[in-house]
């Protein structure tokens, strides 16, 4: 035994080095996250790489020409139809996030400040619409906003209008209404969490220093819950830009969004490279807007001090 150990000092040293490597914290950390890391790599990073690669290629009927070209991006950025669709998507998603946050804030505020012992019950009730499929919820808006829908017959019954309005369904307003409802819970939760973190004695201190309920809200509660408002706005804005089902079902021809065009390129039009270029462009613009929002709000916070 002793002779063997003495006879192979090199072997002993590599083993010691290998053990040290295995014991080092970064290696152990990577080993621990490797299953999830591989999962994310295969299902998130690889598809994005495939899309990015396609966006630089050309479709030749059934084959794909793999020579590098920027032609797809030229079309995506200069063709009026895609530009308009992109603008409309941004307009719809920004409007939706604004409305969602404005409507979600009072609900979150009520639960946080006046929910008492029933806070979790209230939060639970808010998730109830999510027990059914998203499609069903969109379809039910069709029932409400449609030509013979609940809203039209209700308004006619009240004598507000004489004949059913067609302005309710199949346009961007219908998309905005449906998306605002669909994303409400996603905005309520982050705002609720940030309101929960607001120390109630700070509100009392504001009151003690002479502020009425509205002033103390504007000067203390609102600024301190701003992080929740920002994350709520981003959580709603980022996915709604690329929403595809809602405009398809309630948007009509005036409510078509960029995702519908992308779907068409990958489907009927069978031009994967153009679809890929449109996807990458949308992704980049959303990233830029989200990044800019965060930076602007941070600067605003610093200025407010």
């Amino acid at each position: 035994m002793t002779a063997a150990a003495e006879g192979s000092p090199a072997f002993g040293m590599t083993r010691a080095r290998r053990n040290a490597l295995l014991r080092s914290e970064p290696v152990q950390g990577f080993a621990l996250i490797s299953p999830t890391f591989l999962y994310a790599l295969i299902l998130l990073v690889l598809p994005i790489l495939v899309v990015i690669a396609h966006s630089f290629w050309t479709q030749n009927y059934l084959t794909i020409d793999r020579t590098f070209t920027l032609e797809n991006y030229r079309i995506a950025l200069t063709e009026p139809i895609y530009r308009d669709l992109l603008w409309r998507s941004l307009y719809i998603s920004l409007t939706v996030s604004l409305f969602t946050v404005v409507l979600a804030y009072p609900i979150a505020y009520f639960i946080s400040f006046h929910g008492g012992r029933h806070k979790s019950l209230w939060l639970f009730l808010i998730t109830i619409p999510f027990w059914t499929s998203y499609l069903l919820r969109v379809m039910s808006w069709k029932v409400i906003l449609g030509y013979n829908g609940v809203l039209n017959s209700g308004l006619m019954g009240l004598g507000v209008i004489d004949e059913p309005s067609t302005a309710l369904l199949y346009n961007s307003t219908a998309v905005i209404i449906t998306l605002t409802h669909a994303w409400a819970a996603f905005a309520i939760l982050p705002i609720f969490v940030s309101l929960e973190k607001v120390d109630r004695t700070l509100v009392e201190a504001a009151k003690d220093l002479g502020d009425g309920p509205i002033r103390s809200f504007l000067r203390v509660t609102l600024p301190l819950s701003a992080p929740g408002v920002i994350s709520a706005a981003l959580i709603v804005m980022i996915p709604t830009v690329g929403d595809y089902v809602t405009p398809k079902l309630v948007g009509g021809k005036d409510g078509v969004m960029i995702a519908n065009a992308i779907q068409a390129q990958f489907g009927k039009a069978s031009n994967w490279p153009l679809g890929a270029a449109l996807s990458v462009t949308t992704m980049l613009i959303v990233t830029l807007i989200a990044g800019a929002t965060v930076l602007i709000l941070r600067a605003a916070q610093r200025l407010a001090r």
Binding site: L202, E204, D208, L209, G210, D211, R215, A304, R305
Partner: protein, 367 residues
Amino acid sequence: MPERPQAERPMIEIKSVTRSYGAFKALDDASLTIKEGEFFSLLGPSGCGKTTLLRMIAGFDNPTSGSISVDGQSMEGIPANRRPTNMVFQSYAIFPHLNVEQNVAYGLKRLKLAGSEEKRRVEEALAQVSLTGLGKRLATELSGGQRQRVALARALVMRPKVLLLDEPLSALDKKLREQMQVELRRLQQAVGITFVLVTHDQYEALAMSDRIAVMFGGRIAQIASPKEIYQRPVNRQVADFLGGMNFVKAEIVEENGASLVLDTLGFGRIKTDKPKAFVRNGGAATLGIRPERLRVLWDNATAKFEVAGKVVERHYFGEITHLIVEIPGLEKPLSVTETNDFGADDIPVGTSIRLAYDPEALVAMAD
């Protein structure tokens, strides 16, 4: 009508205030008057109702019955933001999104002062609490003691008629706390504002207050000056809360207008002042004597009044030593506090000693 002397003018009048939560009474029929310019403390263990009372003066809570008035004006229906009181919160409640200056100026914004006047008042308040030059610091960059000073400046800058302090020193370490006690007292005398302090720390209350209200279980047990509260507690509960006290069972021999004559086993017959609130409960009463009012007699020294006993325990505390002395006839041994300048820390356990006392130091109290 001639104006009453300023020091006697009542600033806060609390008349039989009760606050109940269902069947539980957080405050039960409390009445007291706090004079203008007074440093008044509400002292008691947690849950005694002292914070409830303070919050009702501030307007964060309302009495179930009874009335509160500040400076002659009834506070009924007046919300916290329109009361002439300001509060220093236990957690300090410094606004984390504002810097020191903005925190102090918070309440001034509503008064719409000229910019220079606002700046002057903020700087004056910061100087009062020795924070000059720290105006631009963020609340998150301050130490506990500094946060406490910001909270104080933020309230003082409003020039309130009453400053309410909710355990303002409890989060500070011992040394800083003692330093702040002195500073707070000095500041109160400089600005002349009525201070109402809530505390559970008897030494804090004794060191700072003009008068103290001791509270237990929602009721006020005694309102008096620190010296009187310490020396002449009305009952065992108050005596116990205000530091160590030796209790001696006594039998009432004679009771008349102002005095009591009592018989005890260890101290013999004692004649003592009858406490104001003394309620006779049969023939028995309790006498109390503070441990530091008993003195060890060395060698052949004698005193007019003395008791003899045997040291059974000795506890060393640096500048003082606690001796536990068994006295024949007393059911409980006496606790004696001696300063260590004469060698009380060297008395061996088991030594027979004699203790001198002043019969004046023995106070009768209700059981």
